[in-house]
């Protein structure tokens, strides 16, 4: 039972109850003795014939006295007691004087005195019985003309004393019990009071806690709004930095057709890349603050990881630039749908891949995706500088970086965010590393259940968070094509008109398209992406198309990819025909090239199935 204010006043009523209890006690005893008195007086008076008035008077006195004593019992227990102790003996006295003396009546006298004990101090109580005893014996002796020890009253007195003593004992015991009961009640009352106090303290503490919680929530809300506003504020000047540096570098028409002098170019590019770095920092900080304030939400759905993987590989390629690093995909074919937030999985993968590329001077970075049981295991393995044992423990902490090479640029937040994102998917990123040899970062994701797969729409709304997002160029899905059969094609063409034409043609026909313009990039990109088809212009800057073709066929990983060669000269069509699927002469017929592309891929699929 909760301790409330009402209960408290109830406890205070204990005092009133105590008075009640006392009054009731008196009432009970007095009633019982009054009844005895009435009986005794009644029986005695029958034996003597006398005036009606004299016979009735003791009765009347008794009744009146009892009435008064009952009336006063609650408010003035003292008066009640006096009346009791007074009336009964008076009645008896009258009886003796006016009617007839009977020793039994002295009994009543004595007993009435006992009641008086309840109202007198303990030390005097002992003497009380002497008064009626002595007076009774004296009276008897005088009345009957006998010496005191010969009177009947003596023996009755002794008997009465014994009864009185017993009665006293009983009463005392009763009083002891009542006192004990009151004591107990008192103790309960004290305990109730302390409970009430504790309850009050608890209530106050809870109230203060709730106030504090409200404050924290307010601050957290204010913090979110602040960060969101700051993010917006920070992006605005960045718009100037990135906007104008890119204009200066790429849009001479905005500067009276003057190209930026070479001597300035490098520095301006540095300004631009710093601006881009600042942008990633802002995005990271915003993500992290959202994660911390619990406002970061992931939207897990069943999704196909293949497009995500391809996108990640393409972006990672951009990071490799001129480093001698080979990017290799190692994906199980026929991966099932995964349950997770595709945008966030992409974020984790990009972070891991960019770290791998950053910390590897030369060698390879492998992105492997394997299906095991009811989960998919993803691992990024590099041949980089590795991570020492002690650092592995703290590497996910904020701002920790492997402090080795201060040239390595990074916000220090990426791994922190990646780990938290992994945790939100019920997973964890594990690290295995050997210093000097390389590292592997891995984590796993659950496959989509049947229920989740049923909700799969194939609508991949993974929005890039920078640049352009176009809504109205939805790839027209051919009715029989499902997520399994989306094809990738790599287009290697340096002539922008031809390239645009090819890009548009393939994209409009449900292909995922990647393109390169430099001969040096073709082999690297192809081995990273492993597309289903390569369209290769024979004349590319920096590397001869035929050489590239040889490279592709020499590597067993890329050897199986069908290549359609584009050439400006009819003479070339005979050359190296066994290595290319076919050689098409420019200008290209888009209808034809599509037909050939589809045929090449399909026949190749048949071959691999038969193998």
């Amino acid at each position: 039972m909760a301790i409330t204010n009402e209960n408290l006043t109830d406890s205070l009523n204990v005092y009133e109850e105590r008075e009640d209890l006392r009054a009731t006690f008196i009432q009970t005893i007095s009633i019982s003795f009054i009844i005895i008195g009435i009986l005794l007086i009644g029986s005695a008076s029958q034996s003597v014939a006398s005036s009606w008035f004299l016979t009735m008077m003791p009765w009347v006195l008794l009744c009146v006295g009892s009435g008064f004593s009952l009336y006063f019992k609650k408010k003035q227990p003292a008066i009640s007691g006096v009346l009791l102790t007074g009336i009964v003996p008076v009645a008896i006295g009258c009886q003796q004087v006016f009617v007839e003396y009977t020793p039994a009546l002295s009994y009543l006298l004595l007993l009435s005195v006992i009641i008086g004990i309840g109202f007198l101090k303990e030390q005097y109580v002992v003497f009380l019985p002497l008064i009626p005893i002595v007076s009774t014996i004296a009276f008897d002796s005088y009345h009957n003309g006998v010496l005191w020890f010969a009177t009947d009253t003596l023996y009755i007195s002794i008997l009465a004393c014994a009864t009185a003593a017993a009665g006293y004992g009983i009463l005392d015991h009763a009083r002891g019990m009542v006192t004990w009961a009151f004591d107990r009640q008192n103790k309960s009352f004290v305990r109730a009071e302390s409970f009430y106090d504790q309850g009050e303290k608890l209530r106050k503490a809870t109230y203060e806690l709730e106030r504090a919680k409200e404050q924290v929530e307010e601050i957290s809300g204010a913090k979110s709004v602040f960060l969101s506003n700051m993010s917006h504020e920070l992006r605005t000047p960045l718009n100037m930095v990135i906007g104008y540096t890119s204009s200066i570098l790429d849009m001479p028409q905005m500067y009276e057709n003057q190209e930026v002098p070479e001597v300035f170019r490098k520095d301006i590019e540095l300004i631009k890349s710093s601006g881009e770095y600042l942008l990633t920092l802002i995005n990271d900080i915003l993500d992290l603050s959202k994660i911390e304030s619990g406002k970061f939400e992931i939207n897990p759905v069943a999704f196909d990881i293949n497009p995500v993987l391809e996108g990640v590989m393409a972006t990672a390629l951009g990071l490799v630039k001129e480093k001698p690093i080979q990017l290799k995909p190692d994906f199980d074919s026929d991966l099932s749908l995964i349950h997770g937030d595709p945008m966030r999985i992409r974020q984790i993968l990009l972070n891991l891949m960019s770290n791998a590329v950053k910390y590897t001077v030369s060698g390879s970075v492998v992105l492997s995706v394997k299906q095991q049981g009811d989960e998919i295991r993803i691992a990024v393995t590099d041949t980089g500088m590795g991570i020492p044992e002690e650092t592995i423990a703290t590497i996910f902490d904020r701002f920790e970086q492997v402090q080795n090479n201060s040239n390595i640029q990074g916000t220090g937040l990426g791994l922190d965010i990646s780990q938290r994102l992994a945790e939100m998917h019920g997973s964890r990123i594990n690290i295995e590393s050997t210093v000097g040899a390389g590292s592997t970062f891995s984590f796993s994701l659950p496959l989509a259940t049947e229920e989740q797969t049923a909700e799969f729409t194939g609508d991949e709304t993974i929005h890039e968070l920078t640049g352009i997002k176009r809504f109205d160029v939805a790839e027209p899905e051919a009715p029989e094509s499902t997520w399994k059969t989306k094809r990738t094609v790599l287009i290697a063409e340096d002539d922008s008109t031809t390239r645009d034409l090819l890009l548009r043609t393939f994209e409009a026909n449900n292909y995922k398209v990647f393109d390169v313009q430099d001969g040096d990039d073709v082999y690297d990109t192809a081995s990273a992406l492993l597309p289903q088809l390569i369209i290769l212009d024979i004349v590319l800057p920096n590397r001869d198309g035929w050489t590239i073709l040889d490279d592709l066929k020499a590597d067993e990983e890329t050897a199986h990819i069908p290549v359609i060669v584009l050439s400006a000269h009819i003479d070339d069509t005979d050359l190296r025909k066994e290595k290319a699927e076919m050689c098409l002469v420019k200008p290209i017929n888009t209808h034809n090239i599509l037909k050939h592309a589809n045929q090449a891929i399909e026949s190749h699929q048949r071959i691999t199935m038969e193998a």
């Binding site: 605005t236 718009n239 104008y244 809504f471």
Partner: protein
Amino acid sequence: MNILYLEDNQMDAALVQRYIETTDHQLDVVATLDDADAVLSDNTDLLLIDIMIDNERSGLDFVRYLRDRGFDKQIIAVTALSSNDDIENCREVGCNAVLIKPFNITQLAEIINY
């Protein structure tokens, strides 16, 4: 092409203006929703709109209002808001594309010339 750009940040507007001047397109810049409503006409071929006008996302309501009224030309949202929800909101009210700030000039060129 006649382009209308609703943008209340002077510097962002200037950047776009600088680029458009080098093309054959015509650019009008307005800074408030009321002005946009007044200037918008059947001649407008493309609307660039900053979603965070007046520090509220009132640009979205404006796009919805335009689409309801029957404006069927290209609308491109230009915005610093970059959460998935914000981009989805842009698509929902009827934008054809979103250009996220900060953007570089080639991205702007691509989206206008598409």
